[in-house]
Symmetry: C2
Subunit: 378 residues, 2 copies
């Protein structure tokens, strides 16, 4: 796999992570390119997120990414660190610092050792290659593998690289995705394509219901190939969905992958919110971990999220086994238990008579998750 | 400890729980008495909750309580089971079934073996005593001890009995509290006294952020002693607060008790909601379990709940150690770690310049919690 033409990336070890792992990533484009972005809405958004939001609407040449430190809740020093990192990248690339985006992931509240970024950017620049793999390695934290996806969009291609979803691991607190296309989007269509894609992909996964201070998704378009807006939009959605699913499947401590399908809601947004309420239930997630078909916890999570739901209009099925139908418990718990005794299953919830539907991807709550997140250092 | 005069209770084993433990409780008053109640707002509220809500405003003589089965999401059969239980109690007490309240706690979605209640109510009636202890034992699930509290209200007393908070244990899904006073409340003051008390007590605790289908708080007033409304209200609040704190301290799997104090919010309600957002964070709770002063997870939870917060107006302290002050990380992590290395500590969060404040009682997330809730049968 390679990036679209005109884009290269690198991943090097800058000593931000303790173990000498790759922790500094760099993406560089040949020319200034149009970009779109979606970011965490957390009020505690990190300094790099605030910097990138300020760059929306202007062309970019590079993205500097570090793992091992979130540069979040780091005050004035954190803002300065972003400026120093973008200054250093601009020198290497030969562009303005305002043409450099930046993203960070790692523990919150620790000063970013930005001098390690400054002193290693020349090495990163010298290491640029068309293969996204070294970059993909440099941004992961406790992901067990890199996440790279490609989709065609007419004559153009869309390539996306991402790291783990939600707050998966000790002090690791972010999902990051970097998507590049050589499509030439029609005016005003790039940001909507990304926003729509994120809404049905990264916004529909939940590992622990914790929203990071650093979540960022970038979409760069080099503009080589004219593409029908719908075709580009579909390809971007495909890439986002595949990356999102890879994240949940690789969730730290997760042993089961659960597709929560909610139908019959007032609209798709309400359906997604209900699915996420189930995905956030510690009790349901613990039951999934143990293979216990405790569907009462599903109804309890749904009914707590939307107090206007009516049990008589609701149906729940675990795999193919319907366990609750229009207000009445039915079916076989043994059948449901068997349906859960696999690596992956679907939980389907009919919540009413509306036309809203959504699929939310989720995982179980394991003792490993607790141990991993209890033991970190800040 | 005894109930106020004119009130007796019993706890017997009816075979609803598998182990032969006490599982059927009965409270009986000499005369019909005024009562107030607060109930879960879950749309999946259990049949006994719906029954009790229908009795609001009319006097009562008895409350039948079972543990070992929630009688929730049990459809038409569950409604019938409530009717049969109240009919059976009415026969024993010599009153109308509409003068009988009912509460259940246990697994959701399993038909209630109501015939075991019917066949054991005579024994329960014969066992009535002034000591609330057998009743208190009959309503607990995996609570490690009974919870009985008493407060004076002028010439009257207020006695409360409760069982475990939130969804603490395998398939156990409820907090129940039964409070009795011999005060004679002024007209229209009993329900407000309870509602106000619940808002600053049971509404300000969180074990796992899961709202049960069965949560119920009852306040009965036998009307023997005239009491100033404020005095009664304060005594009821004291009893509710003490019971609530006992619940969190006895949270299943919990090893640390954390007082989350939020100040500077726009109002007390907003402060409580922010405190509960922190209490609900799986990541912060896991960090508490490990004694890791990961205050970034606190800011992330606050900022995710209220996106209008401004870091520069926020301060976080763990015990006496301020770790974040008006936008800047400060203080000693070792000091914070030491402050957490105890059974109980305070997390204080200044979130702005408002006058709203609230204390939320919470606990950690442990591997025991996951194991206990993974292993149950539905």
């Amino acid at each position: 796999m390679t990036w679209p033409q005109g884009v290269r990336s690198a991943g090097v070890a800058a000593g931000i992570k303790p173990a000498g792992d790759l922790d500094l990533g760099l993406i560089v484009t040949e020319q200034p390119v149009e970009w779109a972005g979606t970011f965490t809405r957390n009020a505690a958004a990190a300094a790099p997120v605030l910097w990138c939001k300020g760059r929306i609407g202007s062309a970019v040449r590079a993205i500097v990414v570090n793992s091992g430190n979130a540069n979040a809740c780091t005050g004035a020093e954190g803002v300065l660190a972003v400026e120093r990192a973008t200054d250093a990248a601009a020198v290497q690339v030969g562009c303005s610092p305002t043409e450099v985006l930046v993203a960070s992931t790692g523990p919150i509240g620790i000063p970013l050792p930005v001098e390690r970024i400054e002193s290693n950017l020349a090495h990163a620049f010298d290491s640029l290659v068309e293969d996204p793999e070294p970059f993909a390695r440099s941004i992961i934290t406790t992901d067990t593998h890199t996440k790279v996806v490609r989709a065609a969009a007419g004559d153009a291609t869309v390539v996306g690289v991402a790291k783990g979803a939600a707050m998966l691991a000790p002090n690791m607190a972010t999902m990051l995705a970097f998507i590049v296309t050589d499509a030439a989007p029609s005016e005003g269509t790039l940001q909507p394509a990304l926003t729509d894609a994120v809404r049905v992909s990264f916004d529909r996964i939940s590992v622990d219901a914790c929203e990071s201070t650093n979540d960022s998704v970038f979409l760069l378009a080099t503009g080589k190939h004219a593409v029908v807006p719908d075709v580009l939009s579909r390809a971007v959605t495909t890439v986002c969905r595949e990356l999102a699913e890879m994240m949940v499947r690789d969730a730290e401590g997760g042993s089961k992958f659960v597709r929560i399908l909610v139908t019959g809601a007032t609209d798709d947004h309400a359906a997604a919110a209900l699915g996420k309420a189930v995905a956030a239930s510690a009790l349901w997630r613990a039951a999934v971990n143990g293979g216990d078909p405790n569907w009462g916890r599903v109804l309890s999570a749904l009914g707590s999220h939307d107090r206007s739901l009516v049990l008589d209009n609701m149906t729940v099925a675990i795999g193919a086994e319907t366990v609750f139908d229009k207000g009445q418990p039915i079916g076989s718990l043994d059948g449901a238990r068997k349906a859960m005794d696999v690596d992956e299953f679907e939980l389907s919830c009919v919540v009413g008579h509306g036309s809203g539907a959504a699929e939310v991807l989720s995982c179980d709550l394991s003792t490993d998750y607790v141990r991993l997140n209890a033991d970190g250092s800040t």
